[in-house]
Amino acid sequence: MNEDGTGDGRAVPGSQWYDADAGPLVRPYAMTGGRTKPGPSNVRFDLIALVVVEDDPPGPAEESLLGPEHRALLTLCRAETQSVAELAADADLPVGVVRVLLGDLLEAGFVKVSRPVPPAQLPDERILREVIDGLRAL
């Protein structure tokens, strides 16, 4: 049921940070340099927070300094506005890792992350009506 992460070829090639004692289950955090929390801004992105690319992102020079996972996420964001959960599923990375990587991208000015609107603040019931009609029409 759960993938155990073994033999999935996802290990960072030639990764030096991989601590054999820690076992395969902590390996994904190697690509965040072992960080398990997003950077100084320390935001914890909601699973359904939407990630949008910045209108005026840093140039290609800075982008080329990003790691492959950062760039992979950026590519996904550019294709379509997506939630944190979708990015994790599409990039096949654990949510915790994606949160850290997105924190980096946010700080470097590559992306914006919208806080989801809590249902209690939904403007009106029109939205829910729309959802119901939309579900019927599926």
Partner: protein
Amino acid sequence: MAYERSENTGAGGGVDATALALKILVAGGFGVGKTTLVGAVSEIRPLRTEERLSRAGEAVDDTGGVAQKTTTTVAMDFGRITIRSGLSLYLFGTPGQDRFWFLWDELSQGALGAVVLADTRRLEDCFPAVDYFEHRKIPFVVAVNCFAGARNYGAHEVSRALDLDRGTPVVLCDARDRDSGKEVLIRLVEYAGRMHTARLLDSVG
């Protein structure tokens, strides 16, 4: 791109995007059909989350020889239903074992509502989910997954057996069937809307 709408602005203050994402949870006991339901109504994808075992509290994960293991991967069900550009429903289901309950604390934040799947052959399996959402005042419907071979109970009987608050909908469903699954979600959204209105009315007087 998907952000050209301006109608919904105002809600949520500093939200700079007007796209709306609504979260619906799918809960219930082990093997009751959560993954099946999410897959029937949406394009399902596995979502991996890394969880520290310590966060799972007394979680009795039988780590056997690997006692030093500090992080475990939990695969959740995850599905998206696009209502229109800028309005999506996100469905989340977690594995049914008790030791994954801690996942709900994050998931339930800001959720529109929840579906609690039940199997009448072992109704007690959904008690923890019912308790959980009742305590947190998260609107939920109970969806009875009608497995073949299970005696057919009426929605009323199930409601009584679970001692549900009056008004909590009970829907009979077949988790494998798309239309049936859609109906469950529709009932939930309708109910969440009613609860929402009732609370607004309460708060103004």
